[in-house]
Symmetry: C2
């Protein structure tokens, strides 16, 4: 059982208990140790048993993992990689490649041929393809085999720690084509002397495999996990050949990462670089978005500048104009958050986007009217000018309408252009609501008040 | 295999294929049918076989499910509920209770005693407790039993469709206390004539159960799933008694829901009411946040109002002041998104919050300096006044510093007060960056320029 929040000042104490700890807890302790002393961190790392070192590396934050790749010897890294599943092996080799190609090559050379072939294969997949997330280690059987024979094989594989987290047996034909998948909970109640052929024929359709393709987008795979309540799914490639499987723990990571990315993108933060330990790099990445925002803010200022004489004649306009822009920005952000999230979850589809726009326009017009009245009365009483109330009221309606319309349309247009709807949509939207807000308010004031 | 995007204009065609479809796909088709005709929707719903009606109901959006509860007969609802797992039974009964207590009571009375007891038990859990997410249907065995005996029981239970999605057998003692959990992948390779006692003793520690408590916060349980790559976890109650189990598909739903909630809360949207089909209700809920925003916008305007004479004397200030506020708001939102997400993921803990604040202040000061120079030069050239460049530069530094400091502190303080860090933090933050932005810029202008 994992012991949480295990903070160890004496690294040797951690090492004594290492066998009873989960890699994720060891990584957490190592992170704390590193904060105190990098020397201790490397000391513990080098003393970790090979069979858990790889798992621990995978749980470390990116910047610590990079330090570890540099500090650990080729021998130790090779042993650690050797213990991992094929998908994790590939990830680590690729990461080391980016830091030190020579070292990665030597580690690769130290692995056995089967592992090497699998790594070569998995490296071919793009980052967002299902194949990049699958592990090739799985429990499969031929149709003519008896259940007993296959279980004997499972037994051996488990003894050698080659297989774990098994929930299904995959039945394949001579060409490795996936023809059935049977849950262990179904398998365990069959007569083990039967062949797979027999149990499949006796249970027509029941074991028809649900699978994903190796080049399918991982986000689509994640949606299938959610929709069909899956725990694991086999991955097939060319001509339905069984390639590997994806388990729910990988999917949970994908879902969390996507959620973080969406939230960050809406706020103008680049998820990829936030984990960096160099604050200046993070600051520069965030500055890029702020720079774009500065551009749009200057645009809005130029709009205000068109009305400098109006403002000079009537300074109350300068006092009130941020309210119109701010309300538009907020109403638009509400719409944007709902749209971005629902597009991501598959609840809004491009074909039915008109309904979504209509809905958002209705809501924002409703609130536009409501706040037109509220703010109109406030402005009237505040500056004792009825017409000022009418000006701010009308511009509130105009700006909240455009907040709803553009808040709903921008992510849909981005999606149609195959751009992530979360990226940059906030900046685009506030540009619109600022410019529409300032322009409508000041223009109306110029026409009506002066 | 599920057929996606099955849009059926003739409801009878859907009914013909119903046996081969996944409930989640049926629900999707029903949603589309309802858009065309409510009559057809009810027609199909009433013709659904009992054994899938319950699952389909669970997959429908809230507002359609409510319609269904009203339209379906007590008999049909009772049959549908009867087919479900205990956690889903409880959810449906509780939802019907809110609409029609009498109807819920009659459905409850139509269930058998075991189901009734379990529902009564599950109803006691708070919405956010692990117990509310567990299903009580599970595969357990006594230590003195042989594996064979327990598998015979599993076989019967599966034949009656009482158990599914089984990944572990839970070994309990005479007091129902959980003493071991064994994965099916381990169980299947043992000699089935052995007793559980024997295999547990021969594999010391290997089957020590990892469990969660029934009153544990479901978000903590979700974190454990992520951290320890779980597929399922047993839930224990008073004195370690086995109560139920939580599977990864429930956890995936929890994670998605939390991510949506966080994103919505940051944007001032109430997730709970967005699913409503009454747009005026949604508009009113969103108006509540806009109303709070109006209050803070008026506050910022009052600050501007303090400097009406300064602005009248120098209208360039009115043109430039939104830039300072906007840059502060954006930098603060970046910090806020990172903090809210990292607090939620457990990456930032309250004890180490100082580090996080320091980091964010450093980043925002770095960018404050950068944009002070950029905007300083732009303002100088634009209005041909060097001092104006200095004023906007200094206020940019001040406002981005406070954006970083408050963007990092506000969610931490909210968390410490046991309030969800995402709720209202955007409004609080923009209040700060607006007021600090306008005040510092106009005050400096008054002192330096005039």
């Amino acid at each position: 059982m994992p012991q949480e929040d295990l903070i160890i000042k004496d690294p040797n104490k951690l090492l004594e208990e290492i066998e009873s700890l989960h890699p994720s807890d060891i990584a957490k302790s190592l992170k704390k140790i590193e904060k105190e002393s990098q020397e201790d961190f490397f000391y513990v790392l080098k003393k970790l048993p090979d069979e858990i070192l790889g798992e621990v590396l995978l749980e470390l934050p990116d910047y610590l993992r990079e330090d570890a790749y540099e500090e650990l010897s080729i021998e130790q890294l090779t042993e650690a990689v050797d213990e991992l599943d094929s998908d994790d092996q590939t990830d680590i080799i690729q990461e080391i490649e980016e830091l030190n190609e020579e070292k990665a090559r030597e580690i690769y050379d130290g692995l056995d041929e089967v592992d090497q072939k699998e790594i070569e294969w998995l490296k071919k997949y793009e980052e967002d393809e299902a194949g990049a997330y699958m592990q090739t280690e799985l429990f499969s059987a031929k149709a003519y085999e008896t259940i007993k024979e296959s279980i004997e094989r499972l037994k051996e594989a488990k003894k050698d720690h080659e297989l774990e987290n098994i929930q299904q047996v995959y039945i394949i034909d001579e060409d490795k084509k996936l023809i059935a998948s049977i849950l262990l909970e179904d398998l365990i109640i069959f007569d083990f002397n039967d062949t797979y052929e027999k149990v499949i024929n006796e249970n027509e359709n029941k074991f028809k495999p649900f699978y994903v393709d190796d080049d399918e987008d991982i986000d689509e795979v994640a949606k299938k996990f959610e929709k069909y309540d899956l725990n694991v799914v086999p991955v097939v490639g060319y001509q339905g050949m069984l390639m590997g499987r994806i388990t729910s723990d990988d999917i949970i990571d994908v879902i969390e990462k996507n959620a973080t990315e969406q939230m960050y993108q809406m706020a103008g933060v680049d998820e990829e670089h936030e984990g960096n330990d160099d604050l200046i790099t993070i600051a520069k990445k965030r500055a890029m978005w702020l720079f774009i925002n500065l551009g749009t803010a200057i645009l809005a200022s130029i709009v205000i500048g068109l009305f400098d004489e109006t403002i000079q004649a009537y300074v109350a306009l300068a006092i009130l104009m941020p309210i119109v822009a701010s309300m538009g920005g907020n109403a638009g952000t509400q719409t944007l958050a709902v749209m971005v999230r629902q597009i991501a979850m598959g609840d809004i589809e491009l074909e039915h986007s008109k309904d979504a726009i209509k809905k958002e326009v209705f809501i924002s017009l409703f609130n536009g009217l409501l706040f037109a009245i509220i703010m109109g009365v406030i402005a009237w009483l505040w500056f004792d000018t009825k017409l000022l109330g009418i000006v701010i009221g009308i511009s509130m309606i105009i700006n909240l309408f455009s907040a709803g319309f553009f808040g709903a349309s921008i992510p849909l247009v981005l999606k149609k252009l195959d751009i992530d709807p979360a990226i940059g949509s906030t900046v685009l939207l506030t540009t619109v609501t600022d410019i529409v807000g300032f322009f409508s308010f000041l223009m109306l004031a110029k026409v009506i008040l002066l």
